[in-house]
């Protein structure tokens, strides 16, 4: 397909035509539709979108964290295997081993009745085969790595004794215990204060350098994307609508939704001028409009947009967009100036 040329030089993970359907009381809900992307070695890929856009579901689908009857189809290529087809046993080796995940709410993701040390040791035992003193030493190292002060003493602490930021650090330490090659981070800083968010994001970037891992960072915050990611995938209504290197995405977005999102944010300056919102609200996934799902809210809409759902295509070097009008979109700097 046209998407094959999007792949960066060496791709570590390759997601092809991922499709996830939930079964709800109101019928089937297609939360992720035909999503394809690649993650390169040592790359931080951002997946950005609003609530209900399918960004978290995409992440969870990669690790098959969604149980049947939820249906996941497509292909998740990892080390030459399709993770959607491997045995449950093999999947347990991958999950929390080769691929680790951290979540938004460290308090609910950590086990409240086990000490932080026990939770790290569990992973070390399962994935690294480390036990006893060696495991203990490694756990201390990990806590030190994520910036927890007096790590030896904190091994015996319970999650509730940690602050929000420290919990997130502890969760990262657990995730790193298995020396993963890919870290999936689902809104890891959304529940944190901005000064702590800053520390955690910089920690992730440092760890990426030190350990040479790749990261998929799911977020709704364009500021976080700008500061953290190498490449960005934008999701809307369950579809990937644009992928681009981070600079290109901010200087010249090629999808009307991305542009609208960027322009709806205040661009600095205390001018009290009206903002430029995207009209309307994100669509109901059970009743999507025909054609481009963004068409009802889009300022560039034409009849062609409403006819068929546009496919994502290559619009520039390492830049894809599912917008018919990608060539006519102005750069944000032209609009705000």
């Amino acid at each position: 397909m046209s998407l094959a040329d999007v792949s960066p030089a060496a791709s570590l993970l390759s997601v092809r035509h991922l499709d996830t359907t939930f079964h709800t009381a109101r019928g089937a809900l297609n939360a992720v539709r035909d999503v394809s992307f690649e993650v390169g070695e040592g790359e931080v890929l951002g997946i950005v979108g609003e609530s209900g856009s399918g960004k978290s579901v995409t992440l969870r689908s990669i690790l098959r964290l969604l149980r049947p009857p939820t249906r996941i189809t497509g292909e998740v290529r990892w080390n030459g295997e399709n993770l959607l087809e491997v045995s449950a046993r093999r999947m347990r080796q991958v999950t929390g081993g080769e691929i680790s995940m951290i979540f938004q709410e460290p308090m609910t993701a950590l086990n409240p009745v086990l000490t932080v040390g026990e939770q790290i040791l569990e992973s070390l035992r399962a994935h690294e085969g480390l036990r006893g003193q060696a495991a203990n030493e490694r756990a201390v190292e990990l806590l030190e790595l994520v910036g927890i002060p007096s790590p030896r003493e904190r091994l015996g602490a319970f999650p509730h004794e940690f602050s929000g930021g420290m919990r997130q650090r502890a969760m990262i330490a657990i995730a790193l215990a298995s020396s993963p090659r890919l870290l999936l981070a689902d809104e890891p800083t959304t529940a944190l204060d901005v000064t702590i968010q800053d520390q955690i994001l910089k920690l992730l970037l440092r760890l990426r350098e030190q350990l040479g891992m790749s990261v998929i960072l799911v977020t709704h915050d364009l500021g976080v994307v700008a500061q953290t990611c190498d490449r960005v995938a934008v999701m809307y209504a369950g579809r990937l609508v644009e992928t681009a290197p981070v600079r290109a995405l901010f200087t010249h977005p090629r999808h009307a939704y991305t542009l609208g999102l960027r322009l709806s944010l205040p661009s600095g300056g205390a001018n009290r001028q009206p903002l430029k919102p995207i009209p309307g609200a994100p669509p109901d996934l059970t009743a999507l409009p025909p054609g481009c799902p963004f068409a009802p809210r889009c300022g560039f809409v034409t009849d062609a947009c409403r006819a068929d759902e546009p496919r994502r295509q290559r619009v520039a070097e390492d830049h894809t967009s599912a917008c018919i009008h990608h060539a006519e979109l102005p750069a944000p700097s032209e609009v705000t100036a």
Partner: protein, 364 residues
Amino acid sequence: MSATARQGASQAAPARAPDARPMAFEVDGLVKTFPVQPTLFDRLKGAPRLAVRALDGVTLRVEPGETLGIVGESGCGKSTLARCLVRLHEPDAGSIRYHGNDVLALQGDALRRYHRKVQMIFQDPYSSLNPRMSVGQILREALGVHAMRPPKAVPGRMRELLDMVGLPADAADRMPHEFSGGQRQRVGIARALALEPDTLVADELVSALDVSVQAQVINLLLELQERLHLTVLFVAHDLRLVRHISHRVAVMYLGRVVEVGETEALFRDPRHPYTRALLSAAPSLDPEHTTTSDAVRGELPSPLRVPSGCAFHPRCSSAFEGCDVDAPELVARNGRECACHLYEPDGAAPAAPGDAGPGPEARP
């Protein structure tokens, strides 16, 4: 009371002229503590009773017609301050004056009038509207309780209010769950406006909303403020939004106001080390503009054990001898108020020897 408010309202940022006209709000030395329930073990041990000092001597001025942004991290007391201003919390000490009247002494009818004039809009549009009442009932209740209109004028006023916040007239017959988050927040605004307030206290007005919808509600707030000459207290943690809509900004840290100033000046040239840290921690939208070092070290201390002296000193890169002893007062200088020992006014007795730390000039 309303006459003064209307008179004082202006479209542009009001110039600072402290004693020229009555302030909308004059808050002085406001203290609010929340006692912590001791555990049985603590009681047997005879441990001292702990209390969270949510507000620790807040002093603040709000001018009529301005938008004052109140920013800070969780636990800084910004929401407690908002709730004290509308008297949802009773402060332990200090005073609040609204257009010259002592708010904390208000009783009976005067208090009812105050509640009408100073309206709060809450953060969570899902829990601040009664799920069993239609939007019409919600508005009718507000109009009825304060006898804002004779009964036969109520339906007309309801249509007017819905129109004002950009909701269709048939919204009155619908229930809150039928609306999206942004629309619910509009209902919350309509309910507040039903009482024809002079002042809106908006606590995290758009935090629960999607980015693309936030701008819609912010625009509505800006438009209504101009139209109705409202004073707005905009409590939020989103610095970009606060910068966009506020005339002035107050920065809070652990129950104290640490810096107040005109928005643009404060964002361009933050004085207090905490303000600097907060602003540089906020992720910029420019991918070219990245930093690798942390904006500030350490975490927020527990509000039960606020550090001595300046509460920020354990995390402050400019802290010097004495910062851990004396809590700096909020001092006005060149239109900026700042509570930091780096900026002791000339002529005042310095809290620390001059050579003990970098002066303001030593910092970029």
